[in-house]
Symmetry: C2
Subunit: 209 residues, 2 copies
């Protein structure tokens, strides 16, 4: 692995574990056993590292966001898609720890971040409209708007919420926990046969999605 890649992966791990605000470039250099000068050769300070990590996250999320061809998407594929988004968010969890602070500190990422969150909400909205058009969900316009906003809100904030409550959820299980929450709230809107509902629920609870 190239040094620049190593720096990014180690930074990501340290930011996720200790919070971005508590890690300096020197900490990262020490962890990697390289000189601060060597680190600086690859990244001109912490902002450059944060920006590179954020770009990785946006690229990854955009791929997921674009991929579901909403015209042919099935409900079980939708939950698979939600799961991939949750896993991607979990991998870059430091971004969501104090996103408003992060944007204030690094204005370069602010616009892209706002755009990413809004495009997520719009993607949820488009997908829910698609399900309504093929009669897979029964919901009026206000309900679809509310669901899209609530799903998006949950995606960006669940981590902070679980930190707040001190909920005892295994790190490996966080994405599935969120998926179970969403499924439970969405079920009464789903107008698909019960055996299809059960199949999705089974895939989620058996973590086989």
């Amino acid at each position: 692995m190239k040094t620049a890649e190593k720096i990014l992966l180690t930074s990501l791990e340290m930011f996720n574990e200790h919070g971005e605000a508590n890690i300096t470039c020197v900490d990262i250099a020490i962890e990697l056993d390289i000189s601060p000068g060597n680190l600086y050769y690859h990244f001109k300070g912490k902002e450059a590292i944060i920006t590179a990590l954020f770009d990785m996250y946006v690229k990854r999320s955009s791929k997921i966001l674009v991929s579901p061809d909403s015209e042919s998407l099935s409900l079980s594929e939708f939950f698979h898609y939600l799961f991939r988004l949750l896993e991607s968010t979990h991998l870059f969890q430091f971004i969501y720890r104090n996103p408003n602070d992060l944007m204030q500190k690094y204005p370069t990422i602010e616009r892209n971040f706002k755009r990413l969150i809004n495009s997520k909400e719009e993607a949820f909205l488009a997908i829910l409209h698609h399900f309504k058009s093929i009669d897979a969900i029964a919901a009026n316009e206000s309900q679809i708007d509310a669901l899209a906003q609530l799903i998006s809100l949950m995606f960006t904030q669940y981590q902070n919420y679980f930190l707040l409550t001190g909920a005892d959820i295994e790190q490996d299980d966080v994405s599935f926990h969120c998926l179970r929450l969403l499924f439970n709230v969405l079920t009464p809107f789903l107008s698909i046969p019960n055996n299809e509902k059960s199949a999705i629920w089974l895939a989620i609870t058996e973590q086989n999605i």
Copy 2:
């Protein structure tokens, strides 16, 4: 108004507007046109002010949390109760801006904060169980758990979410906006007559709750 009270109200306003991290005791003294020494006479530093404000918030919320006698609560009363909680949260919005940071910085409030959030989630759970027992909502145990968690998550995080998306919501309308969201997500679970549903929706949309 006594000086101590004036200090608290001015601090609350300044924290809400600019964020707790961006306001010092000297800023507060200047705004009040009193000497830093006079402020220090009443509150020994920012931590003392934060703690006093947090106590005010807990006292206020606990009153709301305890008040609904879940045995006789109706659904329209429940939405009224949610509205009062939202308004109270909005009044002390600085607490929810970066709650995890706040707890790290002021460990004295950490335990009380965790307790407050968890007692909110438990209150929602108890109320939803009550509605199930009187057949006002149709939901299984997992759905009730999910709804209680999602309502609670929304309560603590909506502010940060709207900041993130840059959603254009008037400050005065934030609580009603959240209430509309919740109502829309809850409707398919409600097994009350349609005219009762419409009456609640009307009260929410006409901001007459």
